[in-house]
């Protein structure tokens, strides 16, 4: 078998698409993405239909989607191996953006997460997820270690993740930071870590937890944690959101209350119902049946993503697509588990359903990269 390494052979990636490319073009992820986004907009119209601050937000979301499609087109025209060349450039420019956010970011709800370019507001921490995955893929691309990584091997990649995570925690945006950490950890587990190292890191984590709790968390974050462990502690305060969200989901029962008839969201009992708690709006109005369908679509989407990773023939492509899949997975799992009350409240959006431009663009870029990998792997 003669595989060509894009790197070592000085292979010039082709630009543009050819007719035969189109014939066997893998549309699956793009179609699934469009279906999910369609559900998202439909649901967002309901969630922002009442007289609240979210009124008319779906229009903005549509604009972001159009922008995302343009970027998808650009990504599809290039070859993914380009990413490998500019991996560190992407990573460090994103890091600079994160620093800029802290210096001159716009604040919303007490957190500095945005920087504005004119009327455009972007959230660099969202893009950091993909940047980090690309950076990791690049870092491990040419590494041939067998038998798992030891502690010393993990120091540098650990640092590459710790710096952005630290910057994001400073914003503070615990949700995004957690997604980064989860994605990194699951990637490392996939790549293989020695059992002894794993045990040691685990031990350190247990020991560090109280210190992080004491010094690393903000007051409101501690509140959420306490209320999660003891739901009766503060029904009106920190636990209120969790309770209202569970009421919303549960009151949907099997068939749901009907489109635009979810009282929990329509009457504002549901907090943040157009962003982090969007799933509660959906499950209140469409019930268990609706949720089953949505979960199934997400599952198909993830497995399609994983199959791209599985069938990719070089390590960089495999790691990048795997990382992107893991990002989606953690978003979906953490968000749903949080909304259902299985996890403490952390701000993690649900891909394609939650309102938010940067998150949508990131999710779409992920699909674009995956589709790119799916369609360029057989080219020589």
């Amino acid at each position: 078998m003669q595989y060509t390494s894009v790197e070592s052979e000085g292979f010039e990636p082709r630009v543009g698409m050819y007719e035969e490319d189109l014939k066997k073009f893998n549309w699956n992820l793009l179609i699934l993405q469009t279906v999910l986004f369609g559900i998202g907009i439909w649901n967002l119209i309901s969630a922002s239909g009442t007289q609240d601050k979210a009124f008319g937000l779906y229009k903005t979301q549509l604009i972001w989607f159009a922008l995302g499609l343009c970027m998808t087109a650009i990504v599809l025209l290039l070859h993914y191996s380009l990413l490998s060349r500019v991996a560190y450039i992407i990573y460090f420019s994103n890091l600079i953006l994160l620093v800029l956010v802290l210096v001159l970011g716009k604040s919303s709800l007490g957190a500095k997460r945005w920087i504005g370019f004119g009327s455009l507001r972007i959230q660099p921490s969202e893009f950091m997820k993909i940047s980090m995955v690309i950076c990791m893929a690049k870092y491990f691309e040419n590494d041939r270690t067998v038998g798992g990584y030891g502690f010393r091997d993990l120091i540098l990649p650990g640092l590459l993740v710790a710096v952005p995570v630290g910057l994001i925690i400073l914003q503070p945006d615990l949700g995004t930071a957690l997604i980064l950490v989860f994605t990194f950890c699951s990637m490392m587990l996939f790549l293989g870590v020695r059992t002894r190292t794993l045990a040691m890191i685990g031990l350190c984590g247990v020991l560090a937890a109280p210190i992080i709790y004491k010094f690393g968390l903000k007051d409101y974050q501690r509140q959420r944690l306490i209320s999660f462990i003891d739901p009766s502690a503060d029904v009106r305060g920190a636990n209120y959101n969790r309770r209202q969200s569970q009421v919303a989901i549960g009151s949907g029962q099997i068939m749901g209350k009907g489109y635009k008839k979810g009282t929990q969201s329509q009457l504002n009992f549901l907090p943040e119902h157009h962003t982090d708690f969007i799933f509660a709006v959906f499950s209140e109005e469409h019930g268990f049946i609706g949720c089953l369908i949505l979960l199934a679509i997400y599952l198909v989407f993830l497995s399609q993503g994983l199959s791209v990773s599985y069938t990719s023939n070089d390590k960089f492509a495999m790691l990048v697509s795997l990382g992107i899949c893991l990002i989606y997975f953690w978003h979906i799992f953490v968000n749903m588990a949080m909304v259902m009350g299985l996890l403490p409240v952390v701000g993690v959006p649900l891909p394609f359903l939650s309102y938010g431009g940067s998150a949508l663009i990131t999710a779409m870029l992920g699909v674009a990269v995956l589709t790119n990998i799916a369609n360029k792997k057989l080219m020589f």
């Binding site: 595989y3 996939f190 919303a248 549960g250 009992f269 599952l299 990773s309 390590k315 997975f329 259902m340």
Partner: protein
């Protein structure tokens, strides 16, 4: 580093995807289980939790009953008051703050700075709570604001019910006022009433509003409304979607009262009072119906109904003429000479005197080592009971008292006629007054009664204390020949549909038929007071109406002997004598009995009697025009409007050297607080 190496590595990694698939399956199963748990297992209970969230029970306040006078004129009404409110959040969202404020300022003539100041002060509270910009808008302002409303989001005109005393400060003490129930009243109400009260409810705090709370108060209704998370009521058009219309309960308005008082009489009394301080009570001697009941100075309870400005409340409290006290029943006074009629009744009924009994008045009477004076230094000479009443001779009554077995004889008759006890009129805070007996003094001071004290009591001084209402009762009892009717204010109770719920009938509290001779003599004596040229109130006679009565002048502070005869008008206002008058008319078939207390008016004759005269004249002219109307009287050849000021009439004065218990009694309880607005910065 070889290509093969990467390929092998990729192969090896591909084996690991099965773990990923397992992880994915576990995660999604977990989510599925929780979904099943919430939506299927807990579905029912969480559905009802979501219902409880959004459906709130809202009170529909029931209007309080209205109060009418005996002729059906509305005295106490529920009138709409319009307030201008702004919801800051909508104002902010509309981005039209400047335009809106300018428009409001133009319509209401409030300076823009004031409006902005109020809005700024409200910044501490949640922005969705309405802020009151102006209360009691005029009709024009309401109309103009309504026409501008579309252009001003967040601005609204809200209606509230204002308990309105139609005649301003007239009859305010009798009608009373309402206020927010406070934490000390609440437990009492909850225990004693079948109705449910809670903090924030308005209840009657004074007067009929308080006493008849159980009748005037309606039953609040309730409705189920859909609210959002902020408690804001959902708009009407959204509601049908969620709510079954049939739920809820209508509000049941309170019952209406028709009083026994006549508004014209009230007005005549208040007009006659002018800016004098005191009270007047007029009673129908044949039933006990109260025809007029006025206490001055007064207040306007309308200002209380939606929260009284703190400054106004403080000024009412600080006013030394006590506008918040109902002087007809809450304050008791030494009756002075007005009481002599009772002493005369006691003397005649106990048969220690008769029409032939004459005593010599030399201006004073010595008892032991003390001298008891008559108000007239040079004395009245020989006087019989009729003359004694007419001229208000003190010595006659001293001598009469000395002939009685004890002061208890006076007390017995005073009680029979209506003094010294509460009448249980339909008003709260009635005081019982005081008619002393030997036993009472023993109990109260653990001292023996002295003969001198009996002399003081005989002329209505010493321990004797009476209210205006009691004096009116007493003269009503005398007028009808000895029957003491319970005074009552409420003629009937009607439901809001006009159905008669209860009608009140006269109730006899004490029946002691006076001897016809006693009755005749007393009436003659009282006739002389007003109608004999030597009478103390001759200037106030009503020709053709046979108005009779008795004056009294009561010292309010002990004065040094050299000051006692100085001219009352030259003294400081609060040291001047009280003027008293009680009487009835017409003499031969009494229709109305009146008692007047004019604080610090110096004389009973010129200070109090004119008020009684005005009330009696108004009443007889209105209700018996055939006999006493101007036409009827001029046919009889009398002109009731002739000038009555006749020079040279003796004006009774205070009796030197006697202390009254009213001088010592200065403890007064605070009036109950209505709802008071927070003082403005």
């Amino acid at each position: 580093m070889s290509f093969l190496g990467q390929e092998q590595q990729v192969r090896e990694y591909q084996h690991r995807f099965k773990y990923l698939n397992v992880g994915l399956a576990i995660a999604f199963t977990l989510l599925l289980i929780q979904l099943l748990n919430l939506q299927v297992l807990q579905g029912d209970s969480l559905r009802s939790a979501s219902e409880e969230n959004r459906i709130k029970r809202v009170k529909i306040p029931a209007p309080r009953g209205m109060i009418f006078d005996r002729t059906g004129r509305l005295l106490l009404d529920n009138r709409p008051a319009f307030d201008l409110e702004v919801i800051p959040q909508y104002l902010k969202e509309s981005k039209l703050i400047d335009e809106t404020v300018t428009t409001i300022s133009k319509i209401t003539k409030m300076p823009t700075q004031d409006i902005l100041k109020i809005l700024n002060r409200a910044k501490g509270q949640p922005a969705y709570l309405p802020v009151k910009l102006k209360t009691d808008l005029s009709r024009d302002e309401v109309a103009e604001l309504k026409s501008w409303q579309i252009a001003m989001p967040g601005v609204s005109v809200e209606m509230e019910i204002k308990r309105t005393n139609v005649y301003g400060d007239l009859a305010s003490h009798m009608l009373g006022y309402i206020g927010e129930v406070n934490s000390t009243e609440l437990p009492v109400l909850q225990k004693n009433s079948a109705r449910r009260y809670k903090l924030g409810d308005s209840i009657g705090k004074f007067g009929l509003e308080q006493k008849m709370e159980h009748v005037l108060r309606g039953e609040d209704g309730e409705e189920w409304v859909e609210v959002d998370a902020l408690g804001r009521r959902k708009l009407e058009k959204y509601r049908g979607r969620f709510i079954a219309e049939s739920q809820g309960k209508k509000a049941n308005p309170g019952k209406n009262l028709t009083l026994t008082v006549d508004q014209d009489l009230q007005k005549a009394a208040a007009d006659a009072f002018g800016d004098k301080v005191g009270s007047v009570v007029a009673i129908d001697p044949n039933t006990g119906e109260i025809l007029a009941m006025v206490s001055r100075p007064s207040f306007d309870p309308t200002e209380f109904s939606r929260g009284i400005p703190s400054s106004l409340w403080q000024s009412l409290l600080a006013n030394e003429n006590k506008p918040l006290r109902d002087k007809t029943i809450m304050d008791h006074y030494s009756p002075g000479s007005v009481f002599k009629t009772v002493t005369a009744v006691a003397g005649l009924q106990e048969r220690v005197i008769d029409e032939n009994t004459k005593f010599h008045c030399s201006g004073s009477l010595r008892l032991g080592n003390r001298v008891y004076h008559c108000w007239k230094k040079e004395g009245h000479g020989e006087v019989d009971v009729i003359n004694a009443l007419t001229k208000s001779c003190d010595v006659f009554f001293y001598r009469l008292a000395q002939k009685l077995k004890s002061v208890d004889d006076i007390a017995t008759w005073a009680l029979h006629l209506g003094l010294g006890r509460k009448t249980d009129i339909n008003l709260p805070r009635e005081t019982s007054g005081l008619i002393p007996t030997e036993a009472w003094k023993k109990r109260r001071f653990n001292q023996e009664w002295t003969a001198g004290e009996t002399l003081s009591v005989a002329i209505g001084q010493g321990y004797v204390l009476t209210t205006a209402l009691q004096l009116a009762n007493t003269y009503a009892s005398i007028a009808n020949g000895g029957t003491f009717y319970r005074p009552f204010l409420i003629k009937k109770i009607n439901t809001v549909d006009g159905e008669l719920e209860k009608e009140f009938q006269p109730e006899v509290l004490d029946q002691t038929r006076l001897d016809p001779k006693t009755y005749e003599l007393i009436k003659k004596g009282l006739w002389g007071v007003v109608n004999h040229p030597n009478g103390t109130a001759y200037a106030q006679r009503l020709p053709g109406m046979n108005f009779v009565g008795k004056t009294g002048t009561v010292q309010v502070i002990s004065l040094a002997a050299n000051k006692i005869y100085q001219k009352c008008e030259n003294m400081k206002f609060r040291q001047r004598h009280h003027g008293m008058f009680a009487g009835f008319a017409p003499m031969d078939n009494p229709k109305i009995a009146v008692a007047v207390i004019a604080e610090h008016a110096c004389h009973g004759s010129s200070g109090a009697a004119p008020i009684a005269r005005a009330v009696i004249k108004t009443y007889l002219e209105k209700y018996f025009p055939d006999q006493y109307g101007p036409k009827a009287l001029s046919e009889k050849g009398v002109n009731p409007n002739q000038s009555l000021q006749i020079k040279g009439v003796e004006d009774e004065d205070v009796v030197p050297g006697i202390q009254n218990s009213s001088m010592m009694d200065d403890e007064q309880d605070q009036p109950p607080e209505p709802q008071i607005k927070k003082p403005e910065e």
